[in-house]
Symmetry: D2
Subunit: 416 residues, 4 copies
């Protein structure tokens, strides 16, 4: 069996536990919204994934220790049974943190057995699903950070997840545009490396001539939008976006605090003074769209983004850099920056199947395909993504009003 | 000024009133849901449209008679001011029906003046906006029927809007597929005739090889889906669709009644026995998608539909046929039938702007553009559409869970 | 059979129709809230009551004409079957107004037959239930006015039900108190005349010494409460009242409009300037209680009110006076005024059964008894009550947050 | 200063901590409903009470350590400021359990100083408020158990708070009635010992002749009600109760589980087989009322209960017995049993002020008075009450639909 897969398995599993090390036991159960799962639940669910899709079907003689975990830690796989209600994950004080860590070890030990000596007939399936399980756990590591940030933010004490590393911010240059000509191009994952099913099949699309901003929109630029009445002018918004602004009484990105203490922002490093040149983040798709309209531009399509990114440098930085908040762009040479390491970038593209898309057979086919309605594609990656988990064909997706991810704005415009 | 435009103006205006003739006064105020406006409101709002976008800005010396109508009969144009709440339109017992009809006459008389002798500098604007106002009124005529049907259906008496004309149904043949090859094609409105802004600009897209069903899915075919557990099998549904099925407890299309009296359906001609070979209608986008998945096919993209339809016969039939319920397909020669005269056809395409799309300036720009989020495109037309109002590039749009339109299912599949 | 009963039957029935005469047909279906039934529904339901509890069980050979009305016009009698949902009464455009008036005539004609020649064995039941049906219709006449007022008020046109009769307002004197000593007294209905079951049995209670205000609180006095921050000071309110103030954003009684046009109030005679010396009305039980606390007094118990009223002049005035809004008190001699003809008076007494209370057998027993939870008793009567329908032992009841009745404030306090 | 007060202070404070000893750290933050506060919050809030009403105003030089606790741990005292939202108490992972225990020690140490050497002029206030703070903490100890039970029950693991002590159940005898004659009696607290303000003033009421059941209704008797269709027969219910049954789909008391594993019940000792002769508990006021109606009896008034209990034996048993679930009655001699040690007993009395009631001045006056609307009085005590905290004049109060307290049924009936 593949040594590097085994190593990657253990590294990934260890990282999930390591990320929790700054937490108090009391933090592991926090759930401040339906969509924000508790840390402990992420630890358990990622283990459940390996147990459900690898150990039970593929490890001969495997005995599950905790039958009720099948229900408690199922996220949304109807093929496995009725999951425990998502909104109530924070109510599971038992199993305790210690019990969940024990569960993780049991799974790891069984996975070690499986990966070391898989049945000959299942080798391919074991490799494929282990890769999927690893990427799945990377996704939950990112959610761990965004969910935790959301839940901690409901506490007026504004606890820091951990102290910030020092880093100097340098001023960003004016926005510059990189241009691309019209024509047929191929998008979707190419090659044999791992990708999710939703990145396939690679296929031809026709792109009209366009230009893409070289960097993300900054806090200062977004403040100008607010000062110009951005949140009070319906003509800048999609109708559904405007309704959301009214209902939620939005007047700024999530986590912004403005008041007597000046312009501040809640981050995983605690409350900080807002940095004007850092990218604006935690904006919804509606806000991204309204900002783009206000500035006379538009959001890119996911095909435009992918085509442009496929010609640029690949992912680096992200969560492994240790700084869990996006930093200001540092170059000003017109090349595309902040593609993967700062904020996910809203596109104007609805999340729909590629031509010829096929979901996997069985419950594992529920992974991606069934979410292809009402959501928008985001591209890139963020300061809490693992760089090795990303690529230019990666399709992230959220609902237009969602704001708790590290989501920002890259502008596009028509040319020619 | 264009004689035929004036004639078309008066014909359209008269049709709105004629459609109301079977109603009791008590019916004019009915509103059984937020989205279902009362007949009286449609009569008033379509007049408001001409008053707001033509008479006030373009007829010198025009005096509005009822300042409060500006608020009461504004639908959603924030540029004109805060509209009276949509959900409360049924609470406006005043102005009475007679007063609204008087209002219509006042508007018509002023429009006659404007169209007969427009200011030289505004001739183009007058023509353009009058055309838009006419098409706008055609859209509201269709909504008049679908809204009225919805509201009458909440009455256990199940009142008929009007008696059915007799018509024989013949058995439909097996579903056949028309095939189309891959390549770049142009979609979007071509030529100088009227179209909505969302049909522009005409632009190139790349289509993969596909096939389109020659007719719509029938009631009998949909019953087979239900009998096969269609509404109880989550693997057939989008996640949001499955949630909707659970919450709304859907088990059949809207208006189906099954019980001791057999398989029945509420129609504008009253409760009838369901006709197996007639197209299924009043299904949501989620149901259309689940049915397609169950049958091993998929929904078409809007570009596929348009490209195929652009090569087929244009719109005929519809509301002017007098039969206000879709009829069974009558040919079986493999050519595309029921494109425009039966049910709108859900596509898998999100309603988004075409490349290079520009909304009009001012409040009238709110007509289409601001709805380009969270909705799906439907193509074609229905038994309550006016044929002359339709064309192959026409983009209708509703939310995936919406069911009160005459919406049905045309399948597509990948080939080659 | 009793001639006067027959006469009273016909007079009452005619009054219901007469009260509708100022309405447009469009008004008959109005329902602006769950609790506000449309005029047409009141006309039909009061007929349903006679049909259900008299004609069907007691008139041999009676044939119901419209079986579906049994469901449509049942209010809340589970013993009769599942009623059509209360919140949807406004959606019944059919039967039309003309059809409901025909239904009324059919019932009246059958009732005439029953009352003229009842079965010997059922004479008592016929008389008793006819009396109940008449009083029931009087209650619905009052609801007709309060529901209609509520529904018309949702129209920014603020339609008047009918023009006001002229009447001069004279200044009221300072509030004076009438004192009552401690001791055992009897409360509950005495004598053989009609009363509702909830007024029985007459029974002994011990009253502590108390005083009662001689007149109702005026608009001017209530304005002083508002100006003193009444709606912003939680210490003046019951906890549930304070929550309601926050949620509903109350800042004044229902129907008050304050703005550039001065202090106005919507009445059944249209928008008027608010009269400082007229009684404040359309306040909830919470507001009445908070006002009383602010003024250093309290609300009376229902026993205190009844004992005091039983020694005062009986009911006069009310709806038959033709003025459908409460007028200022006109005497200042310390005797109790405005007991029955202005506004119902909130008490601090929960609506609970009297000691030994028994509801009637069968579905008619649902009339009063099942509402004896969560409601407060109001005593007296109002400007839209029929005087002959009232008495000192009459118990009206509404939920503490209800405001759409003509409900006002009479203060009490402890003495001795 | 009073030695015994100091001892009682420390004993009570220690008990709150002791009750938590079986918990995992993860349990301290659990909140499964708005009304169910987490254990940690109870620990903090009871300390906040002493800090707010004693230390800050009455201990010279007292410095609060954690200004934000003033907001976080305020329950509902608007006079102190806007409390942190009740529904979000479970989101406060910080302060941690250890920090809250430190807070408790800081308060205890300051209270020790205050109680040892109070200012001469404040001695009375210090004693009075310390007594109130102690009784307040006793109330929260009971809520600790009922809230914890509710929150743990949302976990399909059904964790036990702690193992049960063994105890044998003996069969109960037939229900017997104790009779009381009519006449004036005095109710309300008498004497100088501590009582809450809502038990005053003692006052005269007239009681009609009545009888009271000698014991509580058992599970077996309640099962007979269910089997007789109790939850499906609207004629047995208050209208609001019936609506609640429909909306909540109630078919049994809270915590009952019936299925393949037989008749079970969740208790603080885990899932157990239901004991037929043990008192039914966790029923709402609506269910108690419906059961009483079904059995041809009624609920007692609070005055009847108090008058009867004042002649019976005082409180014993309760939480100090160590068995945290009600046990079967053990005598059958017709004397009143289970008054204080099993389940609180719903009365038919609305929670309203006694004649002449006055709340305290200032924020502390919000303790009881502002809840005197929409709630019912319960009398007695429960298996999780401290016996020394109870007395015959004690008025507990909850909303009619509430079920998470140990609330049961004692019947009454009219006699003579």
């Amino acid at each position: 069996m593949n040594e590097s897969l085994l190593a990657r398995y253990h590294n990934t599993r260890q990282a999930s536990v390591d990320y929790c090390s700054p937490l108090a036991i009391e933090d592991y159960g926090l759930q401040a919204a339906d969509f924000a799962s508790p840390p402990k639940w992420h630890l358990a669910h990622t283990s459940w994934f390996f147990e459900t899709f690898l150990l039970k079907p593929l490890l001969p003689g495997y005995q599950q220790q905790h039958p009720i975990y099948e229900t408690l830690f199922n996220s949304y796989y109807n093929g496995i049974g009725q999951p425990y209600p998502r909104a109530q994950r924070g109510l599971l004080s038992r199993p305790t943190v210690a019990e969940v860590l024990t569960y993780r070890k049991q799974i790891d030990s069984a996975m070690q057995a499986l990966l070391t000596a898989p049945d000959a007939e299942h080798v391919d399936a074991v490799i494929e699903r282990t890769q999927l399980g690893i990427e799945h756990e990377c996704q939950h590591q990112e959610l761990f950070f965004t969910d935790l940030k959301y839940s901690l933010a409901s506490n007026p004490i504004y606890p820091a997840y951990r102290e910030a590393t020092r880093h100097g911010e340098r001023p960003v240059g004016a926005l510059r545009w990189q241009e691309f000509g019209a024509g047929n191009v191929d998008v979707g994952h190419a090659g044999n490396a791992f990708c999710f099913d939703n990145e396939l099949p690679r296929h031809t699309v026709y792109l009209h001539a366009f230009a893409l901003a070289d960097r993300l929109i900054t806090n200062a630029e977004y403040e100008a939008f607010i000062e110009d009445g951005g949140y009070r002018r319906p003509e800048l918004w999609m109708a559904d976006g405007w309704s959301t602004v009214q209902e939620q009484q939005w007047g700024a990105p999530l986590y912004w605090l403005d008041g007597d203490s000046g312009a501040r922002e809640y981050t995983l490093h605690g409350l900080i003074e807002r940095i004007p040149d850092a990218p604006v983040c935690h904006v919804s798709g509606y806000e991204a769209d309204a900002f783009a309209r206000w500035s006379g531009a538009r959001l890119p399509t996911e095909q435009e983004w992918e085509f442009a990114a496929s010609q640029a440098e690949g992912p680096t930085g992200g969560v492994d850099s240790g700084h869990l908040h996006p930093k200001a762009a540092c170059k000003s040479d017109g090349t595309l920056q902040q593609l993967y390491d700062s904020c996910w970038q809203w596109t104007q593209s609805a999340y729909t199947p590629y031509p010829g898309y096929k979901a996997c057979e069985g419950a594992i086919g529920e992974y991606n395909g069934k979410f292809m309605s009402n959501q928008l594609v985001l591209r890139g990656g963020s300061c809490v993504s693992k760089a090795e988990h990303l690529r230019s064909s990666y399709r992230n997706f959220f609902y237009p009003p969602d704001r708790w991810q590290f989501s920002g704005i890259r502008l596009a415009r028509d040319t020619g």
